[in-house]
C-alpha cells in the first residue's frame, strides 16, 4: 500500500516534470507563439466580421444572437479554438507525428514511461504556454476593443475554467488517437489537416451549433468536437443553465474518458505492428 502510494507520487512527479519541461520548450518558442497570436487575432477578426455581415442579412441569426452576443461568441470560440492552436504547440504535436515517420519513435518506446501519459504531459505543458501567450492576449485585445463581453460573474469564470480543463482532456485524447493512427501510416499532415477542418466545422468554431442546419446539428451533437469548443464558449456566455449545464459537463467527462480508453486500446494494438522506418 505504502509502496503503491510512493510509486504513484513518484510517477506524478515524473509526468509533471515533463509538463514543466514542455512549458520551457513552449517558452523557448515564444516568437512562434507571437506569430500564432497574430494569426489568431486576424482569424478571429475575420470570423467576427463575416458573422456580423451574415447576421445583418438573416432574421434566423438575429433571432438566435443579438449583435454583441454574436461577436462575443465568435471571439470566445476563436480563443478556445483548440483546433487552431498556436504555431508552437502545433509544432510540438507535429514533432511527435514526425517521430513516427522518422523512426525516432524507437528511442521513445524504450523509455520507462507510459507513452499515452507522456504525450498528455507534454501537450499540457505547451498548452499552458499557448493559453498564456495566445489565448489570454487575444481575449484581452478584443476586450479592450470592446468587441467581447465579460463573463457575467465569478461563478461563470469558475465554470468556464472547469469546462476548459475538460475540453483539454477531450482534445488530448483526440490528438493521441490521431497520433496512434499515424503510427500505421507514413505521413500525418493530411490527417492533421482533416482533423483541424472537421474539428472546426463540427466543434462550433466557425458556426455556432445553434445555427447548424438540421442534419448537421445532429451529427455535431454525436461527435466529440462540440465538447472542445462549443461547450466552453456557451458556458462563458451563460447560455447553459441548470440541467443543460450538467448535461454539457457530463458529455465532456464522458468524451474525455472514452477517448482516453480508445487511445489506450488503439495504442496497444498498434505498437505491436509499429514499423520502424529506416535503420
Amino acid at each position: 500500500m505504502a509502496f503503491a502510494a510512493a510509486s504513484w507520487r513518484q510517477s506524478v512527479g515524473r509526468y509533471s516534470a515533463v509538463s514543466r519541461a514542455y512549458v520551457r520548450v513552449g517558452l523557448a518558442l515564444r516568437f512562434e507563439f507571437l506569430v500564432g497570436l497574430g494569426a489568431t487575432l486576424l482569424n478571429t477578426w475575420i470570423l467576427v466580421s463575416i458573422w456580423s455581415v451574415i447576421r445583418s442579412g438573416s432574421s434566423d441569426v438575429q433571432a438566435a444572437f443579438d449583435a454583441p452576443d454574436m461577436a462575443t461568441y465568435m471571439v470566445v470560440a476563436g480563443v478556445v479554438n483548440f483546433a487552431r492552436m498556436g504555431h508552437a504547440s502545433r509544432r510540438v504535436i507535429y514533432r511527435s507525428l514526425r517521430q513516427v515517420s522518422t523512426g525516432q519513435i524507437a528511442v521513445e518506446l524504450v523509455r520507462p514511461v507510459n507513452m499515452q501519459l507522456l504525450r498528455y504531459a507534454e501537450w499540457l505543458g505547451v498548452f499552458l504556454v499557448d493559453a498564456l501567450l495566445v489565448a489570454v492576449p487575444t481575449w484581452l485585445i478584443f476586450r479592450l476593443a470592446g468587441v467581447v463581453d465579460d463573463p457575467s460573474s465569478g461563478m461563470s469564470v469558475a465554470l468556464f475554467a472547469l469546462s476548459i480543463g475538460l475540453a483539454w482532456l477531450v482534445l488530448a485524447g483526440l490528438h493521441f488517437i490521431v497520433n496512434a493512427i499515424t503510427l500505421m501510416s507514413i505521413s500525418g499532415s493530411g490527417v492533421t489537416m482533416a482533423r483541424v477542418a472537421i474539428q472546426e466545422f463540427f466543434g462550433g468554431a466557425l458556426i455556432p451549433l445553434a445555427l447548424m442546419p438540421g442534419a448537421l446539428r445532429v451529427v455535431a451533437d454525436l461527435l466529440p468536437f462540440q465538447a472542445i469548443t462549443s461547450t466552453p464558449t456557451l458556458v462563458y456566455m451563460d447560455r447553459l443553465e441548470g440541467p443543460e449545464l450538467v448535461r454539457a459537463f457530463g458529455v465532456q467527462v464522458i468524451w474525455a474518458i472514452a477517448l482516453f480508453a480508445i487511445g489506450m486500446v488503439v495504442w496497444r494494438l498498434l505498437v505491436r505492428r509499429v514499423q520502424i522506418q529506416g535503420g
Binding site: 516568437f31 512562434e32 506569430v35 500564432g36 497574430g38 494569426a39 486576424l42 482569424n43 477578426w45 475575420i46 466580421s49 463575416i50 455581415v53 451574415i54 442579412g57 438573416s58 434566423d60 441569426v61 487552431r84 504555431h87 508552437a88 509544432r91 522518422t102 523512426g103 525516432q104 493512427i181 500505421m184 501510416s185 507514413i186 505521413s187 493530411g190 490527417v191 489537416m193 482533416a194 482533423r195 483541424v196 477542418a197 472537421i198 472546426e200 466545422f201 466557425l206 458556426i207 445555427l211 447548424m212 442546419p213 448537421l216 529506416g278
Partner: protein, 264 residues
C-alpha cells in the same frame, strides 16, 4: 519541355508505386486531403443557407472565387512543389543533393516532390470551378471564359511567388518558418468576397496579396464594368509576384549554408 514531362511522368509512376505499397496510408491521405477541402466548402454552403448574398456576391460566384483561388494553389503545389517545402530544404539542409543535379533546381526538386494525390484534389477544385462557371453563366460569354482562364494563370503565379517568398526567407531568418506558417493559416479566408470584410482586412488581403488569387480576377471576369480596377491588374501582379519569388530563391541559394549534421 519533353524532358521535363518525361521526368514528371517517371517521378509520378514511382510515387504511385510507393503509394501502392502503402495502401492504408494512401487511402488515409487521399481521404483526409479531400475531406478537409470538402468541409471548407461546406462552410460556404452553410453561410448561404442564411443569406442569399455575401458582400453582394451569390453563392456560386463565391464558389467560383474559392475554386479559382485553390485550384491555382494546388496546381502550383503540384508543378512547383519545391516552393512549399523550401523552408524544410533550407532548414534541414536537404538542398545538398538537389544542388548537385544537372537541372534547374526549382524544377528538379519539384519533380522529386510531385505528389500524385494532388490530382485528386485538383479534380475536386476543378469540378467545383466548372460547376460554378455553369451556374454563374460564365460559359455564355467567351470573354468571361477567357478572363477566368487568365484568373487561373494569375492565381497559379501569385501562389507560386508567395510561397517562394515566404518559405525561402528561411535562408535569412530561420524564424521566417513560423511566419510562413502563420500566413498560410490565413489562406483559407481568401474565400470571402473582399467586400464583406472591414477595410483594414481588405487592405491586408490585398497587400499580401491573397486577394489576387481569387477575388479580384474572378470579380473582374464576372462583372468587368464594376470591378475592372484591381482585377485587370491580376495578371501583372501574378507575374511580378512570381518574379520576386524567383529572385528571392536565387538569392537564398547563395545564402544557403547547408547543415553541420543531418537531423533524423
Amino acid at each position: 519541355m519533353r524532358r521535363w514531362s518525361r521526368l514528371y511522368a517517371e517521378s509520378f509512376t514511382i510515387r504511385l508505386k510507393a503509394m501502392a505499397q502503402y495502401r492504408f496510408d494512401t487511402w488515409l491521405g487521399l481521404g483526409s486531403n479531400l475531406a478537409w477541402r470538402v468541409f471548407r466548402l461546406a462552410f460556404i454552403a452553410v453561410i448561404f443557407s442564411f443569406v442569399a448574398q455575401l458582400g453582394g456576391w451569390s453563392a456560386w460566384e463565391v464558389a467560383l472565387m474559392w475554386g479559382i483561388s485553390f485550384l491555382g494553389q494546388d496546381l502550383s503545389h503540384l508543378l512547383f512543389a519545391f516552393a512549399l517545402h523550401a523552408d524544410d530544404y533550407f532548414y534541414y539542409g536537404g538542398l545538398d543533393y538537389a544542388k548537385v543535379r544537372p537541372a534547374p533546381l526549382l524544377l528538379w526538386a519539384s519533380v522529386e516532390l510531385a505528389q500524385p494525390d494532388h490530382l485528386l484534389t485538383i479534380s475536386f477544385y476543378a469540378a467545383v470551378t466548372v460547376l460554378a462557371m455553369v451556374n454563374t453563366g460564365v460559359f455564355a460569354s467567351p470573354l468571361a471564359v477567357l478572363l477566368i482562364l487568365v484568373a487561373l494563370v494569375a492565381s497559379i503565379l501569385v501562389r507560386t511567388g508567395m510561397t517562394l517568398v515566404t518559405y525561402c526567407s528561411v535562408a535569412w531568418f530561420s524564424r521566417a518558418r513560423s511566419v510562413a506558417h502563420g500566413i498560410s493559416a490565413l489562406n483559407e479566408h481568401t474565400k470571402y468576397p473582399l467586400d464583406a470584410l472591414p477595410v483594414p482586412l481588405q487592405i491586408f488581403m490585398t497587400a499580401l496579396p491573397f486577394a489576387f488569387t481569387g477575388f479580384y480576377p474572378v470579380a473582374f471576369a464576372l462583372r468587368p464594368a464594376d470591378h475592372w480596377m484591381p482585377g485587370a491588374l491580376s495578371l501583372p501582379v501574378g507575374v511580378l509576384t512570381a518574379a520576386v519569388g524567383f529572385v528571392i530563391l536565387r538569392l537564398a541559394l547563395r545564402k544557403y549554408q547547408s547543415v553541420g549534421s543531418v537531423d533524423v
